[in-house]
């Protein structure tokens, strides 16, 4: 069996374990390329039946409009239950986007982590399936497939349950939960291979197009929303695309003319920088490890 099909089978096995052993699971859907694979895997795991859990999108309210449009269209097409949650209360005291570093800190804390923890609690989910991969980031390399979270949604990296073979310990007390990562063993290349092999639809922002952008630091940022512009900045039209999708103020684009999956993969293969390099959020003072300890996905 090829590596890709073995990874597929492993992910299906993991999702079925979740449905068999948890009372109220949810799948987090970020609308990005990893989520796209996750969604296809969920379809495969439960076919010919429907996906037996809802998909939840935690909307930071500064996502690309193209992502929201794609989300709603795709959800209607496949026909799963979609939950959208936002921390609208916190948004009222949001700092100006003129300072992206500060805005990102706010967004990560309140619009992502707090919003997620609030939503998980509100719906009483005891398991949340996510698309994180161990290869992505240094602290994720140590994450379990079934990763325990305490009453406060926190991760304790030094005190994780041992995880052997494919025997997952799914037991939690009331209020505790498990984050589940079926794509743990996938690499970025595997994600693209799978999208290509399965012909999975992805948000058009992954493909190159002439778009209005501004140069800030070493990244191209979208200029499609006037709130995002600093004083004196003049947008220019460039051929760009995104390697990874997040919020508009902090996710940089790369210059590219890739119009097909093959061309995207050619770029990914030649890439000399990791895919999160263009994300301001990952470069702040708080590391992914710290954010994960607080409950970040």
């Amino acid at each position: 069996m090829t590596h890709l099909r073995a990874l597929e089978s492993e992910a299906i096995h993991i999702m079925r374990e979740v449905v068999a052993e948890f009372r109220n699971p949810v799948m987090l859907w970020s609308v990005g390329k990893d989520s796209a694979c996750l969604l296809r895997l969920a379809q495969k795991a439960f076919a010919p039946g429907p996906i037996p859990f809802p998909l939840m999108h935690v909307d930071t309210c500064v996502k690309f409009p193209e992502m929201i449009e794609f989300r709603d269209k795709y959800a209607a097409e496949i026909g799963f239950r979609l939950i959208v949650e936002s921390n609208t209360e916190a948004l009222k005291s949001a700092p100006s986007m003129q300072n992206p570093g500060r805005y990102c800190e706010f967004c990560s804390k309140h619009m992502k982590t707090e919003a997620l923890l609030g939503a998980l609690e509100k719906h009483g989910f005891d398991a949340a399936i996510g698309g994180a991969r161990r290869e992505e980031e240094r602290s994720r390399a140590k994450e379990r497939v079934f990763s325990f979270r305490d009453d406060f949604g926190r991760w304790d990296p030094k005190n994780q349950r041992p995880e052997l073979w494919n025997l997952y310990n799914t037991r939690v007390h009331e209020g505790e939960s498990i984050r589940v990562f079926p794509l743990s063993n996938w690499t970025e290349a595997n994600i693209w291979q799978y999208i290509s092999a399965e012909d999975i639809p992805i948000v058009p922002l992954y493909y190159a197009k002439k778009r209005p952008v501004v140069r800030r630091g070493n990244a191209w940022l979208t200029a499609q929303d006037s709130r995002l512009l600093h004083e004196g900045e003049v947008p220019e039209e460039r051929w760009v695309r995104w390697r990874t999708l997040g919020c508009m103020p902090c996710t940089g684009a790369v210059e590219s003319k890739a119009l097909t999956i093959e061309e995207i993969v050619a770029e990914a293969q030649a890439a000399t920088k990791s895919e999160r390099e263009n994300r301001i959020v990952d470069q702040g003072k708080a590391s992914m490890e710290d954010k994960k300890k607080e409950g970040y996905f």
């Binding site: 096995h13 990296p157 073979w165 007390h173 990791s274």
Partner: protein, 445 residues
């Protein structure tokens, strides 16, 4: 387009990559602080281009901040902050790289803190283990311990990398001496595929490239061996075992009567029309369909995840196992196993634990600890009253309901289980089911 960083990579190459039908090899490494494990992994990742520029820049920066010169390969695998601060590895970390021939997953396990627990965890899913030996120090306790655990966990291939050859002048005599010593000791482990390679992880000799310092060595480079190691036979392709994960009853209009059994084929293969028997009921039927999202299959094999429907309506639920009538696993509620204890709280004989085995979770207890294995001397301690954290012993377990199990040596998936404390929900132990006639490796007295 200004300074295109992707210049020179063709779309044809990408098309090739997308179509690649690569195989996966999982291996584990373990070692103590100074034997160069992190350097070796860093070397493999850098030389196979699995590390990005910004990550390398970060390593460079940290190296300089520490006032060191050069480029500390070991920093590439640094994970958690406590590890960076203390210069140690705390937990199993998983690393990924690939070559045109294969994809690799490294289970990178620390050699000192909680060594057994982590080594056992890393070894549980590995096809091969790299055992590092410092050429200056020879075969250390640590290397023997790792080799023992690797063989206990049923890893078929042990690769002994004699590292730091640069510090012994790349001397063939030294390498031969270590090889002989290890081979003699490893005879105790029983049947394993044992390979030796002299390397210098620091300088890269015999890791990815051959280097020029050891013309006397004519074998594989480490990566060459990892790429070509024959692993097709590591899986059990004979005994069909299908533990049921979920019963699918969509009850939608078009699937009104559909009743499918979802699971992963843990070993062997099955075809439509074949006769099966369901455990524990013993009821027989025939495979009607093998259903997948991509259409029905005529046959399926391990490790595919599929949904099976049967000719007859019989009562089947999660935890049941579907097998062939003439090839059934053992059904036992009392069995012998090698158990590795993983909790701060020592094992309590006769305390009720939960045993998770395939898709079945049952109550059980340790009826008897026959002996504890001293993993340094391989001596059997029959007087030991209990197993403490990081200890391994041979136990007799009793469960409330039977398990449908095979010998771990013949079938990892149906021969393994984890032990969960019902009160704390922690995973406190891991076990490998072992019949009397199969002695633990090294246990021959």
């Amino acid at each position: 387009m200004p300074n295109n960083p992707h210049e020179g990579v063709s779309v044809d190459a990408a098309r090739e990559l997308l179509a690649q039908r690569m195989e996966l090899l999982r291996f584990t490494t373990a070692g103590s602080v100074d034997d160069g494990k992190s350097t070796l992994i860093g070397r493999l990742l850098v030389d196979t281009k699995a590390v990005f520029e910004d990550q390398l820049a970060h390593v460079q920066e940290v190296t300089e901040r520490r006032g060191q010169t050069g480029f500390d390969l070991a920093l590439i695998t640094d994970g958690l902050r406590a590890e960076r601060e203390q210069g140690i590895t705390i937990d199993v970390a998983y690393r990924y790289f690939s070559t045109p021939k294969r994809s690799f997953i490294i289970a990178d396990t620390p050699g000192h803190v909680q060594y057994t627990r982590n080594m056992v965890t890393g070894a549980s899913t590995a096809n091969a283990a790299i055992i590092l030996i410092d050429a200056r120090n020879g075969v250390a306790q640590q290397s023997r311990r790792h080799a023992f655990i690797a063989s206990l966990l049923g890893i078929p291939h042990l690769i002994v990398a004699v590292n730091k050859m640069d510090l012994v002048d790349y001397a063939e005599e030294r390498y031969d001496q270590i090889r002989r010593e290890f081979r003699d000791w490893a005879a105790k482990l029983g049947q394993v595929d044992l390979r030796f390679i002299p390397i210098s992880a620091l300088n890269g000799d015999m890791v990815v490239t051959r280097g020029e310092k050891m013309p006397w060595y004519r074998g594989w480079t480490l990566l060459g061996l990892l790429e070509d190691l024959e692993i097709g036979t590591d899986r059990n392709l004979i005994d069909f075992r299908f533990p049921v994960q979920l019963v699918s009853r969509p009850q939608t209009e078009d699937l009104h009567d559909f009743r499918g059994y979802m699971g992963r084929i843990e070993s062997g293969a099955i075809a439509v029309g074949e006769e099966i028997v369901v455990l524990p009921s013993g009821l027989r039927s025939k495979v009607k369909e093998i259903v997948t999202f991509d259409g029905n299959l005529d046959h399926a094999f391990t490790p595919q995840s599929v949904t099976i429907t049967l000719e007859d309506d019989i009562d089947i639920s999660r935890g049941d196992t579907i097998v062939r009538p003439h090839n059934v696993p053992r059904m036992e509620s009392e069995f012998e196993a090698a158990v590795c204890w993983m909790s701060d709280e020592p094992m309590q004989p006769r305390k009720k634990y939960l045993i998770k085995h395939t898709t079945r979770t049952v109550r059980g207890f340790i009826k008897d600890l026959r002996y504890r294995i001293d993993i340094d001397t391989l001596h059997r301690d029959k007087e030991s009253p209990t197993l403490e954290l990081n200890e391994i012993g041979r136990c007799i377990l009793k469960t409330q309901k039977p398990l449908y199990c095979d010998d771990y040596r013949e079938n990892r998936a149906t021969g393994s289980f984890i032990i969960i404390d019902e009160l704390t929900n922690l995973t406190v132990g891991a076990g490998m089911i072992w019949r009397e006639r199969h002695e633990a490796p090294g246990a021959a007295e």
